[in-house]
Amino acid sequence: MTAWVLARSRFPGRSVLNAVVHLPLVLPPVVTGWLLLVLFGVRGPLGALLHDWFGIRLVFTAAGATLACAVMVFPVMVRSVRLSLESADLGLEQAARTLGAGRLDRLVNITLPLASPGIMVGAIVAFATCLGEFGAVITFAANIPGETQTLPLAIYAALQVPGGEAKAAQLSLISLTLALIGLMASEWAGRRLNTALGR
């Protein structure tokens, strides 16, 4: 959605939105985590609302870790989707219009299918990146084993304990494997989808 807006629309706040979306990419992850803490903390403006109205607490929970990951990989995702939307052929949408397809119809039947390789690749890369998220998660959701501990957090924790090298090596191997699978899957999915689209 955000990618579509950024790729197609031209409005006054566009560059601001663009900057906000891309902020986590350039900001130190710890800062992102801290900002989340400020916003979504139990006493933060959004966190308080969630807590009071729905009884949801994000800080130091698995959900919080997920949120931190999502915020961190969002720009990666948006960039990838936006690139594929921008390279999509506007001529095809015009053709669809003359054939009677309205805005939503075109989005569902023309734009999204044609952008699907980019979206798929973006999603897989984002997932792989997510697994490796460290700074924002430790700041926002802490490092609670079995709850908010991501792989790198576990590796880091293992290294802090005397004799934990073996465990760290194991975990690193898992991490390496997951990253490789992620990259290969994205490559494969991209190629498969492009073939399906007749490119």
Binding site: G91, A95, R97, T98, L99, G102, G198
Partner: protein
């Protein structure tokens, strides 16, 4: 029954200001140099560009009228558009491409199977656009636009991106389509071939305004239009095959009350054909010579009068429009000849037309030449195709 278009739009380089009315049904070719505003008419009619001022009406039914605040978006107009690049959806099969517009309209005037048969694309239905040749793609694109069940068909240089042999492959399909459709068609092209074969009417456009508009027989024979200045200028005549003379290897055509003899053409008697007579091939004579047919290797001697004369400096020539019994022809002669024969408007002359110079335009209506390859299994009779004729449209 007319299609009327009024268009006013200001671009940074050119101001479009035109108005014309053309018969419906019928193919109207918009002809003119690049950038003269032909495509603007197409995109405005499709609704893809909203001009400063625009009014389009078919038989009084208003498609767009900016002054009255009527401007339907493209998706709510029943207008079929064939682009120069076919713009097929790459992620869909040919069938789904064809059905795309059809699924989004309730009308069922033009039938799927008939369009498929007419365009010879029955073998392609399961394929993806990227596996099709340029000519096949364009045929599918034409089918897709037709199945949108349009009130108006727009074709923006549909053959321009194809090489000449592919063009020759599609032209017969278009010529056949044209006789079946009960629709107004606006067709943009630069090609005199397409113009001569397909146009019922011509709108000549230059620098955003209409230079001339009218039936092809009239416009192509006018001496004073830019069309006449082309190397390959010449009148287009609507004739009918009258009789075959196998022994003499000749075919006689009737052209209104007049007749034309051409080298024997393999066409059934009674068929309507179009022929083109290049301007440079017509000799003008003043004197009646009774024995001209016996003394010369000439079959066509037609009496008429000079209607108009125009200079053609590029060819060091003069263009003479001659009104004959069947209609007008255009003759390109030297200025010296005009002086010697003392030609002027109203002068009686004979037009001498070599039978060999008369071009029978390919894809004669109703029985197109079959392209060399493809579509061999979909030979159909004209009777079957008549059914494609649209019934009375709900207004």
């Amino acid at each position: 029954m007319t299609l009327s278009v009024e268009l006013h739009h200001h671009f940074s380089t050119v101001t479009i200001d035109m108005a014309f009315s053309v018969p419906n049904p019928g193919v109207t070719v918009l002809f003119g140099p690049s950038g003269s505003g032909k495509s603007t008419v197409i995109v405005a009619a499709a609704g893809l560009l909203r001009p400063d001022q625009c009014r389009i009406a078919i038989d009084g039914e208003i498609l767009a009228d900016t002054d009255a605040g009527i401007w339907l978006p493209p998706e709510r107009r029943r207008v079929g558009l064939v682009f120069q690049d076919s713009r097929l959806f790459p992620h869909m099969s040919v069938t789904n491409n064809l059905m795309f517009g059809m699924r989004r309209t309730a009308e069922r005037i033009i039938d799927f199977d008939e369009v498929v048969a007419l365009l010879g694309i029955s073998d392609l239905l399961a394929r993806r656009p990227n596996t099709l040749s340029g000519g096949e793609r364009q045929r599918v694109a034409i089918g897709r636009a037709l199945l949108r069940q349009p009130q108006l068909l727009l074709m923006d240089e549909p053959l321009a991106s194809l090489d000449s042999s592919r063009k020759a492959e599609i032209l017969p399909y278009l010529a056949r389509l044209k006789t079946m459709l009960q629709l107004p068609v606006l067709y943009v092209t630069h090609s005199l071939d397409e113009l001569s074969q397909l146009a019922d009417s011509i709108v000549l456009i230059d620098s955003g305004s209409v230079v001339a508009a009218g039936p092809i027989a009239e416009i192509a024979a006018r001496a004073d239009l830019p069309l006449a200045q082309r190397d390959d200028a010449g009148a287009v005549l609507s004739c009918r095959v009258a009789s075959q003379y196998a022994a003499r290897q000749l075919t006689r055509l009737t052209w209104g009350p007049a007749e034309l003899w051409i080298p024997q053409a393999d066409l059934p008697e009674g068929l309507d054909v179009r022929v083109r007579v290049p301007a440079r091939e017509i000799i003008l004579a003043r004197t009646e010579v009774d024995s001209v047919r016996d003394a010369f290797s000439l079959h066509n001697v037609l009496p008429g009068t000079v209607r108009a004369i125009a200079d053609d400096p590029d060819h060091r020539a003069v263009l003479v429009e001659v009104a004959l019994a069947g209609g007008s022809v255009l003759s390109r002669v030297t200025p010296d000849a005009v002086t010697r024969l003392a030609l002027g408007p109203g002068t009686p002359v004979l037009a001498l037309i070599k039978s060999m110079s008369i071009e029978v335009l390919g894809g004669a209506q109703g029985s197109p030449r079959r392209p060399g390859s493809g579509g061999a299994n979909d030979v159909r009779r004209a009777d079957d195709l008549r059914r494609l004729r649209a019934g009375p449209r709900p207004s």
